[in-house]
Symmetry: C2
């Protein structure tokens, strides 16, 4: 439980520093609202002038500096960073997050701290359910007819030497079929499938391509049409229905006759 959540209001540099050092030592979840400037050195370089921001330090080393607007942090460090706090020569608190590979460094120069809080967040392993590309692929394997009547799947995640094809099988007439699954298929998705087909052709395999997605861009459809690639649009609702029915009474998925 986070009942041990502690906080300090308008701390002096000394108070803030000891608060942060203690929280960092306990690998706590730390919040800090402060007027600060920020400097980043690494894959790029940025210098951010003075302003009010939210700093979040997580136990896994994730480090976020959030500005007053926008989804993305204005500066950050991904998980795994080493976070330290110390005093500068002129008595200001500096919070620093560094990463070794690649070398990156974010430094926050605190000018005035409004509020700092720290505590341990308790979170049980969370069953997070979602409707992803993976779900769509699963639904296709459960009910291949949604792609094309009589189609028959074999290999999934088949390495083609240039990425991997999502699903490979044969259609009713026995022709090899490569299925590429996307949530939203744009041209790059269609190009991906085309790369697989081209590669297979190099191997001497003549194969059809089918794109399955919740939606397609015009570019994707045009690209596909020009290369005789079929586009199958599926509604999320249908996928949900298939997955839910499957969960209630899981039949057997039969994988056979794939490429060998």
């Amino acid at each position: 439980m986070s009942s041990k959540l502690r906080h300090v209001v308008e701390p002096s540099p000394g108070e803030l520093l000891s608060f942060l050092k203690d929280a960092l030592a306990h690998r706590a979840f730390i919040l800090l609202i402060a007027k600060c400037s920020v400097s980043y050195y690494g894959r790029s370089r940025t210098e951010l002038g003075s302003g009010d921001r939210l700093i979040v330090i997580k136990e896994d080393g994730s480090f976020l500096v959030h500005s007053k607007t926008g989804y993305a942090p204005v500066n950050w460090q991904p998980s795994g960073a080493r976070v330290t706090a110390y005093l500068s020569a002129d008595g200001r608190v500096i919070v620093e997050a560094t990463r070794a590979q690649p070398y990156e460094r974010v430094r926050v120069f605190i000018e005035h701290a409004y509020l700092a809080a720290a505590g341990t967040l308790k979170e049980p392993p969370a069953p997070l359910v979602s409707l992803t590309e993976e779900d769509l692929r699963t639904a296709i394997l459960i009910d291949p007819d949604m792609v094309e009547p009589g189609i028959h799947f074999g290999t999934i995640e088949w390495p083609v030497g240039v990425g991997r094809a999502d699903i490979v099988g044969r259609d009713r007439s026995g022709t090899v079929v490569v299925v590429e699954v996307k949530r939203e298929c744009d041209r790059s998705g269609a190009e991906q499938l085309w790369r697989y087909l081209t590669k297979l052709h190099e191997y001497g395999v003549s194969a059809r391509g089918i794109l399955v997605a919740f939606s397609f861009t015009h570019e994707a459809r045009r690209f596909a049409r020009a290369r005789r690639i079929k586009c199958v649009a599926v509604s999320p609702k249908r996928v949900m229905t298939i997955l839910e029915r499957w969960r209630r009474s899981p039949g057997r998925r039969t994988f056979s006759s794939g490429l060998t």
Copy 2:
């Protein structure tokens, strides 16, 4: 200034609700650390079980639910969402962020609030300096010789019917050159240039391709080599130097003899 930062510790549902409603009405920057469960419906669907999390609500409608680990929020809404707070039938606070296009909804069911804070973050327009693809492109236009001696640029951001070529010009021998600029060039970057070249070829223009980047993947180099595309690696330091010298004494960039 954020001196008007207010906060409440362990508020009751009623206290929390009025705190949030007031803060939302003032379009304040809002923080909330609470035990909660989260539900998302929209482009995907997720259900997140009960746990301690940080909720951030920004004045532009950005909405973030952060878990105890990781760079990315576990649930969110990008800027532009409409955020409301209300009581459920059983007296719990629900915070909801909705977006119209595409329709998306995040609902946070508060079970216990540890700390809530709200205030106005003041941030002057920030001079954020960085070394981007744009910087690299600028450096190339300032000093074309870094790409190839005697090269001569004309059009920039030239529409080719399938995206746009970064820079188009002619080399010393008068051959049309298409330059694609990337920070880190992977295969997809090389493919992009190849699309332009292919398109130009369809138009009857025979052109060379040059990739300029801070670094290349092996795949990109292989792809390029197979198609006689030249790869030019540039050091960030050199770009920084060119840009800094330019800022000190800006000469004239001469654009001439592009394609017409």
